[in-house]
Structure formats: C-alpha cells, structure tokens
Amino acid sequence: MSESIARPAAAFQGLRIWWTMLKISLEERLVYRGDFALGTLMRFLPIVTQVFLWTAVFAATSKSDIGGYSRNDIVAYYLLTMVTRAFSSMPGLSTGIARSVRDGSVKKFLVQPVDYLSFLLAARVAHKLVYYAVAVLPFASVFFFCRSYFPPVPDATTIAAFLTSLVLSFLLGFFMEATLGMLGFWFMEVSSIVFGYMLVQYLLSGHMFPIDLLAGVPTGIAGVSLADVVHWLPFEYTAYFSSAVWLGKVQGAQLVWALAIEATWVVVMAVACRIAWRRGTRRYSAFGG
C-alpha cells in the first residue's frame, strides 16, 4: 500500500518536505511577530553604550587609531557585527533541543520518517526569514543614520565574500548550537553549559571587541599571538569575520584562507552534530525514552 502512494524522485521529495516544513515554520513564527519587532529594537540598545565607551577611550588617548581601528571604524564594526549576529545567533536552539529530549517530544522524530536535524534547520531558516522581514526596517534606518561612520562601499568581490561569510556563519552558528543542544541526551540540564559557551563565544567571537586587538597579546609560543589562535577557532566566524571582511581588514589570500577555515568548521560541526544525534538517540532509546 505504501508503495502505491509513494512517489519516485526521493531527492525532489526531500526538497518538498523541506519546503513544507519551512512554510509551516514561517506561519508559526508569524504568530510571534510582535515579540520579534520588539526584540529587534532592543538589540540596538547595547550598541549605544559601546559607542559611548569607545568615544571615551579615543578621547583619553592621543592616538587616532587603536589596533588599526579609527573611531569611525569601531562604530561601523559594531553595527556590522549586529548584522553577522543576526545570521549566526540561534536564540533558543540548544535549550529547545534539550527541552525536547527532557519532555519527550523528541520521540516524534524517532517514530515519524523525518529527520530531526533537517527539520530544525528548516525551522531555523524560517525563523531567520521572518526576523529579517521584521528587522530590515530598523536595521536600514540605523545604518542610514550612521552612514558617515562607514568607509566607501567595497568592491563586488568583497561584497560576495561578505555574503558568503554570512551564509556560512548562519550554518556554523546553527550546527554549533545544535550540537550543544544534543548534550541534553547526556545531561538533564544544559543551560549552564550553554551559558559557558555564550561567555566564550562573547569574548572570542569579536562580539565584544575586534579580534585584531588580540594581535599584540602573546601566547607564550614565539611569534604566535592570541589573535592567531583565535583565527583558527570557529568563534570569530560568527561575528568578527564578516565585519572585518566588509571593512577591508581581511583581503586576498588571507581572505580565501579564512573562508576555507570557516567552511571547514561548518563541515566539522555538521558532522559532530550528526554524530551527537546518532549517539544521543541510541543512548535515549537504551535508557528508556
């Protein structure tokens, strides 16, 4: 019976399921559009304090730039970081996965012929699309008012690299947080782990300050600065990297190299996430569901 109702072209089917999941998640997110609109505005508030802080720092020093950043660069950097974070941050993803394990709603994905990770990804894309639709206006107006802080619009190659890095940062953020959420299969409560991750993420992603400022910090290994180490870690690709690309801080071979590192981290985290899901569900079903 199932053969007669199954249609061929499995790949096409996969896309169709994905599209339906996306549509339904979109509708679900739209239920909470008010919450989104408010959340977007709130996001800009911390930036104001950052701008005041850096204005004070520049006023106190006679130098016109700090770590290669002028006062204008710093403001532009923070604003651009907001854009990257809008792609890479995944509010509620890891805690949501952990909750579904704790309250048992993850069972649905063991019983139905549908993949939980694909489902989460579709839901997250929908989440982001709704967010952008709501956030585009406040974002555009802030960037318009602050346009004097920005250097001239970069060339097409840089813009292409910038956009690529944004898409990769979305995937990286997704797989990192999803893997974190899978820890819920092993620990009853992941919120403290998530908190620890957020702290490291906040420091090393460039969310707090540009990673270039770490260039002068020694690690103890001759010729290797803290910034060199951070460039090899995944964190900066969720905030610092895209902004640095737009501002022309990373160029040429260095840019290609950095994009390759970012893409590699996406693959590594996607595989890690898949392994965590496999092991986690095996443990879950051994433990008792």
Binding site: I5, T20, I24, V31, V111, F287
Partner: protein
Amino acid sequence: MIFPYTLLMHNSDPSVAAAVSDPVICVEGLAKEYRVFDKPEGLAASVRALFHRTSRVVEAVKGVNLTVGRGEFVALLGPNGAGKTTLLKLLSGIVTPSRGTARVLGHVPWERADDFRRRFALVMGQRNQLWWDLPAAESFRLHQEIYRLEPARFERTRDELVDMLGVRRLILQPVRELSLGERMKLELVAALLHEPEVLFLDEPTIGLDVVAQHTIHDFLRGVQSRRQMTVVLTTHYMKDVAALCERVVVITRGDILYDGSLAEIVDRFTTHKIVTLELDEVPDKATIERFGFPCECRGPQVIMRIDRNRIAEVLPEILGSAGIRDVSVEDVPLEEIVAELFRSDAREAAASAGAAS
C-alpha cells in the same frame, strides 16, 4: 500459586503463536531493563551520592512473547508501572530492548527504517504530532509531505477521518485553543492520515468525557474494520476494552499474566453472578436472611452474589418469593475482575518474595 489459571492461555505455548494467521507483530523473549539511580534523602546522603551512586536494575519488561495477527484489536491491561507503555515503546522503536527479538511488519522496530516508519503510527499523550500554535490543517499538510501522500488521496482520507469524528470546523483553529477531547480527536486524525497498517495507542481516552469516549470508540472501530488495521492499545478504562477489543493481554510486573479473549476473562475468572432484586418495599432483616446469600441492600434494592453453577437452581426459588417487582442477572463488572487479577498477582509477588527471603 494462588491463581492456577495464570498458566492458562499463556502464550509461551508455541501453538498459540502458530494459531495467529498473518502475524504482523512477533515478539519473542523481549525484555527491557533500566538502570535507575537511587536518590537518597537528606543533604549528607546527597553529598555522598555525588561520589558514589547506588543503582539498581529495574526490569520493565521481562521476556514477553506475543504474536498479533493482521486486523486484530488488542488491549494491553495492567496496573501502573506494569510495563505496558515500555512494551509499546519497544514495538514502535523508541526503545531498544535488553534481550529478545521483535518484528513488526517484518521490520526490527528499533532499527527505525523509513519504510517501517511509514507504515505504523503511535499516539502517545496529548501534545504529540500537532503544532501547538497552528491549526491542525497545517500539521496534516506536513504529514502529507513526511509520509509522501498523493494529494488527492490525502484529501480524501483527511476529509473522511475528520467527518467521522465531526471535527471539520476545528481543523482551522489553532490547536492550543482546543479542548482536551478535541485535541485527542485531531491527534488521531493526524496519526491515521498515512493509513498505517499498525496503530499503537497509549491511553487514547484518558481524561475524556463519556461522549468523547464514545465518539472515539465508534471512530476506531470503524477505521479498524474498514482498513483491516492492527491496533494495540493500553488503557485503564474497561469501557474501551469492552467496546473495542476482542483480545486482552494482561501485563503485570513486566510479564504477561493472561492473553485471551475478553469473553474468556469473564468466563474463567468469575465464579459468581450478580443478581439484583427490586422489591416492593425496603426489606427487613428476616426477608434478607431468607434468600440465604450474602446481600447488600440499597433501599428496596437487594444485590446478591450467587455462584454461577447454582444460579439456575436458585433463581426460580428467589423469584417465587413475594414482593419482587424486578430482577436482573449480570456478570461481575469487568473492572472488578481485572482489579482482582491485578491484586492476585501482587499477592503472589509478595508471597514469593516472602518465601525467597
């Protein structure tokens, strides 16, 4: 052993398994053990538990053998914690067993092959498959894609199921606004859209009012007979069993205590019938004693338990006495029989534990 009939109809006899035609569920020696950690009381003990945790093994299901044929409607009965839900979880592949084998529709459930998952459904609890914030119609659409259903066939099935339950106007309303009974009905629709060959239901009528229970009974009976679907359900309501299941499997402490027809449970495990007399007036003590059976009086109503073998001989005599307006002869209620079954097993367990120590 207090109740020798626990051996009767026990399906460890291979001839019983062979008797089932076209088996869709075959379970042999299926067992599931959990390791549970004891959480000691008090702060000092809690601190000690950080370094040394004491654990013990709990056997939720102990070597169950069960064969269910296509189109059977089976009820799993048992007290709380007997292992019914664990058995359903094993059969639907959520849980991997500690020992034993199982085949459902030819598949090993816990391998979770997509081909298997497209052919069965599990309804467990209330917030299961439907999206909380969206109308059920959207969740149905998603199921259409997940199970790869032909649009025309999907719509026909959906409309048919929705009309059978009388919930057509509810499918466009966000699920969170619906009542418990309405949600349960829509959960059932969602579970049946892909026309599963096997359906597992975990307490489908829990917390529902009588009308909703009836609707669900009629619905399940209708769908099951039309599609020749195999249904296994757990329940605590004997009304479900009486309305739906020809076959009853009683599970206690992870083991099958009885496997047979519902009629046989009544037949084998009751020694008495209940005779209710409606008298003209409230009887005095002497009148009651004259009947010669233990009686319970509720005003002019007298309720007696009479040995089944003697009923034919005794009844005319009773009816001959004056002042009887009405009489009814009934079986002991199913609830009572099953409760006695559960209790007898608990007593037996206590007795064997006492003998062992």
